[in-house]
């Protein structure tokens, strides 16, 4: 039995380390060490007005603030019996897709992909592949600008609130974004194709339960039912929430999650496995050219799944933005009165399904809250993967073992800031 310890793992959102032991078969163990302090966000929102909540929760994560803004808003709207208009939902979908693009752009090209070609410092990556780096920053920037237009600001949005949007986004800016989308898609395709060609994906198979949203004829991300790939069950969001367990353990700032006592995978690869038929055509063809069986049980392919989703999201935004701009005088604000109630939401964040739950009193003050992030959900599955993966790399020297362990960890795109919150 030999132990492997990695104290510092860079290029992830939030701080983490790894501790594992290499033995034969079931003797291996693997543990992710989270190194963030607890900010107690669920405690901070207590006794505050509902309208403060999305402002606070977006600060959970600087990479994916929009999903914590939208997740809170949708849960609070359920509590307040608010029915958003078609236009509001349309705009929120565009907003979320643009968030997925810019988060994936950072992760795919700068955080995870370099592992697959043996580069540990992105300043070297940028020097070696300047055209691809600039293209990645460019299409990411297009998505960020679109988020600025819709949300008032991409990082920690301002304009997206309970009841819709405070001010209608400038239709000129939206039109300019739409007019410029084709060359941006070309840049995304250049990067995605480059990642597809260059990344050497390790061989590994470890079937698990893939949990995602699901809708008919839409690659679900903002609404729908939950779908569990192991039982092919399609369940209502509220029924799922009662069956998972958050595990609060000593010295663990992240509460890991299990469903019916089992680990499960959430995120791009889960979505691709569960909802492949609903991908847009160009995105679909990119995965098909990889010639990898589906469902894909190799978690390293989360990198490629994210790349495919970037293209899908661009195609989808093009469709939805065209649709939105045809609406005359979109109604982006719903009137409502405050009432006591409770509400929950599940949306697809870049890293997988995200839960927000709130209870309000008659004055609209928060009396209970719970937030369960994608990373908290997949962390146990990542450890399960690592435990299975370790014996297959026993033959390598320590440096290579550590490199492969970090490659798998980063392929999951863990966000420890989110998970700790």
């Amino acid at each position: 039995m030999r132990t492997i310890k990695i104290d510092h793992i860079g290029k992830t959102e939030g701080h983490l380390g790894f501790e594992g032991a290499l033995g034969s078969g079931d003797m291996s163990s693997a543990r992710i060490l989270t190194q963030e302090g607890a900010r107690l966000i669920e405690g901070i929102v207590l006794n505050r007005r509902y309208s403060d909540v999305p402002i606070i929760t977006s600060r959970i994560c600087g990479v994916c603030p929009i999903v914590h803004n939208l997740g809170a808003i949708l849960a609070l709207e359920m509590a307040l019996n608010i029915e958003p208009t078609k236009e509001i939902t349309l705009l929120r979908k565009i907003f979320n897709l643009a968030q997925i693009i810019h988060s994936h752009a950072l992760h795919v090209f700068f955080l995870s992909f370099p592992d697959f070609i043996g580069i540990s410092n992105d300043f070297d990556l940028v020097k070696k592949y300047p055209a691809e780096a600039v293209a990645a920053l460019h299409f990411r920037d297009w998505a960020l600008k679109l988020c600025d237009t819709i949300g008032g600001r991409a990082t920690h949005p301002i304009n997206s609130v309970v009841g819709g949007f405070n001010v209608p986004p400038s239709s000129e800016e939206l039109q300019v974004a739409l007019n410029g989308i084709e060359p941006v898609i070309d840049q995304a395709l250049l990067v995605v194709d480059f990642v597809k060609r260059k990344a050497r994906v390790p061989k590994f198979t470890n079937p698990t339960n893939y949990v995602t949203l699901k809708k008919n004829k839409e690659y679900a991300h903002l609404d729908g039912d939950l779908f569990l790939s192991d039982t092919l069950e399609r369940v209502k969001v509220k029924d799922f929430i009662y069956n998972f367990t958050e595990l609060s353990l000593p010295y663990e700032a992240v509460k890991r999650v299990e469903h019916d006592g089992q680990t499960y995978f959430v995120g791009a690869l889960a979505r691709l496995n569960n909802n492949f038929d609903d991908l847009n055509p160009v995105a679909k063809s990119i995965w098909e050219k990889l010639k990898v069986d589906r469902p894909c049980y190799n978690s390293f392919y989360n990198l490629q799944a994210q790349a495919v989703e970037i293209v899908h999201a661009f195609e989808e935004i093009q469709k939805l933005l065209t649709q939105y701009l045809k609406i005359k005088n979109p109604k982006l604000r719903v009137d409502f009165t405050v009432n006591p109630g409770r509400g929950a939401s599940i949306i697809e964040a870049p890293r997988g399904i995200l839960f927000h739950y709130y209870e309000l009193n008659k004055d609209g003050i928060v009396t209970h809250s719970n937030i369960v992030t994608p990373t908290a959900q997949f962390l146990a599955n990542l450890e399960f993967d690592l435990k299975e993966f370790l014996p297959t790399i026993a033959k390598y020297d320590e440096a290579k073992q550590k490199h492969l362990i970090k490659t798998l960890i980063r392929a999951y795109d863990p966000c420890i800031s989110c998970a700790t919150h």
Partner: protein, 257 residues
């Protein structure tokens, strides 16, 4: 002789890392910075870390020191760097997580964690509570253009400056609707500008994330709100959000009066 490149570290304590994400939005201008400075630590961009061994010219600190490791990192960085900059509202004035301090610490911890052993969550303080801070780059999240200006002024050997305009001035000059006039609690008149009144653009009142002006007229501002029927309790709830409550004269905001 090649010019000396400033050695810069970008370090995150417990945070959302949104400030450095914003910084990356500079795109080519971020990449072009490599001609003038050397980033020796930027964990979003490199796997290894090595700041402990180096003498640094400039260190940016993002986030809150709320674990013992965070506090030690912060102090060590102060020892090895010539210039230390608080980057973003958390490091500068406490930021959003600072609100944690207004609740019963133990009760809140137990509310979030069934098992609290070994979970670190120190009282949230600005980094100036632990080390001497040379400059503050304010806002939640930082403004990337301002950060770039900061870095270039340091390259030129000058101290970075922030103009002392209230947010109100920037709001009015852009023609946004005044929410204070409508009786909403807006910190625009007492808050240091430079954000372009970005929140007001979206009809969101200013919560003061850039911190106070050098000579804020807090009393006048409070009188204005109270004349419109706003209570001190309501005002204090808003002052809590980014930690501005700790920056104003405490006798002015006493709820019991």
């Amino acid at each position: 002789m090649a010019p000396h490149k400033l050695k810069i570290a970008l370090v995150s304590l417990t945070s959302c890392e949104g400030c450095y994400c914003e910084f990356l939005g500079l795109r080519e201008r971020f990449l072009a910075l490599q001609d003038r400075v050397k980033f020796v630590e930027f964990r979003l961009f490199e796997d290894d870390h090595h700041f402990e061994a180096e003498n640094l010219d400039v260190v940016f600190i993002e986030g809150s020191p709320i674990t013992q490791a965070n506090i030690e990192t912060l102090k060590r960085l102060r020892d090895v760097s010539k210039t230390l900059i608080a980057c973003g509202a958390c490091a500068h004035i406490g930021g959003i997580y600072h609100m944690k301090n207004y609740s019963d610490a133990e009760k809140t911890m137990k509310y979030v964690y069934a098992e609290t052993t070994g979970i670190e969550s120190e009282t949230v303080k600005p980094i100036s509570a632990y080390v001497t801070v040379d400059y503050a780059l304010p806002t939640c999240p930082i403004n990337r253009e301002e950060m770039l200006r900061f870095i270039y002024s340091l390259v030129l050997g000058k101290g970075p400056q922030i103009h002392q305009n209230p947010v109100c001035y920037e709001c009015a000059s852009r023609g946004y609707e005044c929410l204070l006039q409508k009786g909403e609690i807006c910190l625009g008149p007492i808050t240091q500008g430079g954000c372009g009144a970005i929140c007001l653009k979206s009809k969101q009142t200013c919560f003061g994330c850039r911190g106070l002006l050098k000579k804020p007229q807090v009393k006048n501002w409070l009188n204005l709100l109270k004349a419109r029927g706003v209570t001190q309790r309501e005002i204090n709830k808003v002052l809590q959000v980014y930690g501005v409550k700790e920056l104003v004269p405490q006798e002015l905001i006493d709820e019991s009066k």
